[in-house]
Structures are given as structure tokens and as C-alpha cells.
Amino acid sequence: MSTPTETTRRGHRGRIAPVRLGRWLIRLGLLLGGVLSLIPFLWMAIAATHRTGDLFHSPPPLLPGGELLHNLERLQDSVGFGRVMLNSLGVAVVHTFLSSLLSAMCGYGLAKFRFRGRGVLLGVVLGTMMIPLQVLLVPLFQMMASLGWVNTYQAVIIPFLANSFGILLMRQGFLDFPDELLESARIDGSGELRTFYRVVLPCVRPQLGALVIFTFMTQWNSFIWPLLMLNTEDKYTVPIALNTLTGLSHVDYSGLMLGSLLATLPLLLVFLLFQRQFVAGLLGGALKG
């Protein structure tokens, strides 16, 4: 009675062994790749706590050192990094708020109203996604110069408030919203803006969350346009300040690594807290089109 089971079991094991080995090799490969993924982060954190001279000595420091505060002090003295972080935060928050609001409103307009010019607007929205920003750089720069907006935050924020990715993402969310609900809100005498704010917006919270996070991260990273617009240290955002530090004749590497760490921390924090929404925003373009 027990013989057939034994043979099948043995046969089973014979097949399983290479599978197991394969799985362990895959785990090992993933581990190596993961280490490669994380090394720059670890190095950034370690380097931020050592003196520049120690970073390039052999052997390199592998544990945190005690220079963090000194590095912070120098970073503050060289470009006023505290102020720079606040500038970045301010620009990113204001931009994210206005841009997300505009995207939600425009997406709602496109999804729930039929009007002349709707097709054209939708075409323009799609078109902006295909035209790279670089084409606009020169005329936008001249425009900002003639408005006297160079080296101001409105120049950094306003030209890129209308975000086609955001509009399409929000439109997608609003398309499923039942018209009957809008009708009944109107019959109740609720104004259009009020209906939008009280009834419609709460229903697209997932998409809105994804958009807010995605917009914040994009704006925090934004480089070429602020690089053109902001030209005094007191106005710099984080990427511009880091870029300035790399261009100095005597580069303060540990300060630079601390700056990079501080630049990355808010993004890491946002990402780890809102990972789900972030990935949803990322996929908005890929899966729904």
C-alpha cells in the first residue's frame, strides 16, 4: 500500500531539488541587486557624517561618523541650505495645490459637460503630453523676461500649472461619476462650484491623492526651468543649490552628500507613507492610457 506513495514522493523530490536550488539562486540574485539599489543611499548617509578628506581615503568609512553637525553648518554657510529647503517646500506645496485643483476642475469639465471647444481642448491636452518642454524654453524665457518675472517664484510656478497628465488622470476618475447624483444636487439648488467641492471631489479622492503626490515629487525634482529662472541664492530651490555646489572650484563633497540626503528625505518620506497612491499615479498613464 505504501510503495506507490513512496515512489511518487521520491519522484517528487527528485524534481523539487533543482527548483529549490533555482529559487535560492533567484533570491541571491535579488539580494545582490537590492544591495546595488541601496548602496548609493547608504553611502550618501554615511558620507554625510564624515569629513570630505575621509571619504576618499582607503579604506572608506563604513559606519556613520561624528561630523554631521559640522557638515550641516558648512552647508548652511555656503548656500543657506535651510532657506533653500523652505523655498523648495513652499514652491512645491503651492504648485501642487494649484495644479491639482486646476487639473481636477478641468478634468471634471471635460468629463461631465458637453460644450463647443471640448474636443479641441481635449486635443490640446493630449498634444501637450507629446511636445517636450524644451521647445517652449526660449519663448517662455523671453516672456518671463518681458513680464519682469525672472528670479520670481510666480515664473517658476505659473507656466506649468496646467498639467495634462493630471487632467487626463482626473477626467478618467470623473467619467465613472453618476450623472444622476449631479442632477439631484442641482435640483437641491446647490451651485456648480459647491456641488463640485462637496459632492464630486470627495468621490475621486484616490485619483486626487495619487495626483497630489506625483505632482509634489515632480515639482520637488524640477530642474531645468528653475535653473533658468532663479539666479540669486536666496531664491534657490534644492536641485539648483546642489547644482551650484557641484560647480564650485573646491567641491565640499561631504556637504554635498548631506545636501543630497536632505533633498531626498522628503521624497522618501512621502513615498514610504503614500506608496500605494504613488504607484497608482504612476500606473495612471500605463494601464488606463
Partner: protein
Amino acid sequence: MAVQSPTASAVRGTGRTRERADRRGRPRFAHWIFAGPAAVLFVVFFAYPLGASFYQSFTSTENGRTAWVGLDQYARMFQDPSFLDSMVNTGIILIVQVPLMIALALILAVLLNQSWLRFRGTWRTVYFLPAVTTLVAYAVVFQVLLKTDGGLVNQIAGALGLSPVDWLNDPTWARTSLIGSMTWRWAGYNAVILLAGLQSIGREQHEAAALDGAGTVTTYTKVIFPQLRPVLLFCVITSTIGTLQLFDENYTLTRGGPDDATLTPVLYLYKVGFQQMDFGYAAAIAWVVVAVIAVISFLQFRFFGRERER
């Protein structure tokens, strides 16, 4: 579209007394309250500069005077070694980096989709983290890691008995460094997108293929990957566009050097436009980039999208 009908006005009469409303009882111009602000911004900050840039690409500005020069700016590019270098560099990155990264991302996505693998969420986060670094910050970190004298990478190479490499000052190695750092940042990002694509393909498909006697490799190449085609296409096209628009990474890492080895068209147009103030030429370069993006995206779309009907 606001068609007034007798019934509509009757309905309106019983409800609110609003002057202009369509038959559903909504104000006639409500849509512009919502779509208007973004539309105005698009006209002012997109349509106008787009037209201006197109016009500019046919002009030349010398001593403050702008003159129409026809296609001269476009013709200039073909004799400009820096521009040609920038196109060659982009071509190299496109041919080497994009396939390398997409292949890595696909392998990663397949591995992270294995049901027997534990802590899949953690693995995904680990591989996605590079995509969350500030663009400039990661270029800075690679600059430090790749420093010739005592940079961490050369120190590790030394410990393994290899001679140090001049990562950022030798043309070939500078390109390699750029490709390596871009792959580090974007492979996990694409893997997460592909993983979501894989997850939308049901487990049943794997089981059905296994029942039909297909091995793991056959299941993937014959059943799973064909269904992943749209997502793959998305990754390939966005990566291609990103490469053709490359600026942040090479500007920070190498400033386009050494000897233009990492110069890209966008970095070049930045130099031409904003360091040499040659606006007409910069605009022409930008439009060539647009044209190249349009053509390549179209070709990829045809090439990748074609077999879907089969």
C-alpha cells in the same frame, strides 16, 4: 450644445430661477468655470510659446536685430560637430541603455511576481527606491561614487585587484557611467510598471498554460509577454522619450563632457540658447528633437503594436 426646449424651461421654472441654463438645469457656461482656467493657461503658456518657437526657428538674431533666414538654422545642424555628436550620443544611449534597462526591468518584474517569493512588497520597495531620489541628488551621488581618486567604486575595484578607471573624464567611460547611473535610477521604476501589468494577467493563464504542458519559459514567451505588450510599449516609449530629452543627469554628472561625449541635444540647445543666446538655433534644435521623438515613437508604436491582432 445647450439646446433650449420648452420642457426644459418648464422644469427650470419650478426649480431655481437662473437666467441661462440648458435642459438639464445647469448654467450654460458652467463648463468654462471648470475647464476655463486650464484652457487659458494652455493658450498663454503652451500654444503661444509653441508658435513663437516655431517662428523663431526660421529666424536669426544678430546685434539685437531679428531676421528671417528660412531653413538656415536647420541646415546649420548638419555641419555642426557638437550637434552631430549629441545625436550620436543619444543614439548610443538609446541602443544600449533602453534595451538593457527594459530587459532588467522585465526580469525583475517576473521575479517579483513569483508567488513563492516572500516579502514581495519589501523587494518592490527596495528596487523602486532609486526612482524616488531627487534627479540632481542622484547625479551628485554618482559623481562622488565615481570619483577617480578614492571614489568608492574605484576603491572596490582596487580591492578586487582591478586598476582604477577614470569614470567621468574618459569619453567611453563617461558614457558608460551615464548609462549605468540612468539604469540604476530607472530599472526599478519600469519594473514596478511591468509588475502591475503582470499582476493584471490572471493566475489562471499560468495554470491553463501549465495544463497544456507548457514549461515556465514557454508560458512567459508565448502566453504572458504577448499580453504584456501594451505595458511594455508604454515603458519603451516613455524611456525613449526620456532619453531623447535627457538633460538633468548628464548636465549634473559631466556637463556634457569630456569632449562632448555625453552631450545630448537638449543639453546642447540649453548651451546654445542660454549661454550663447542664439535663440533661433536653439529653437531649431528643439524642433528637430520633437520630430525625432515623433518619428521614433510612431515607429515603435507600429512595430510593437502590430502583432496584437494575431
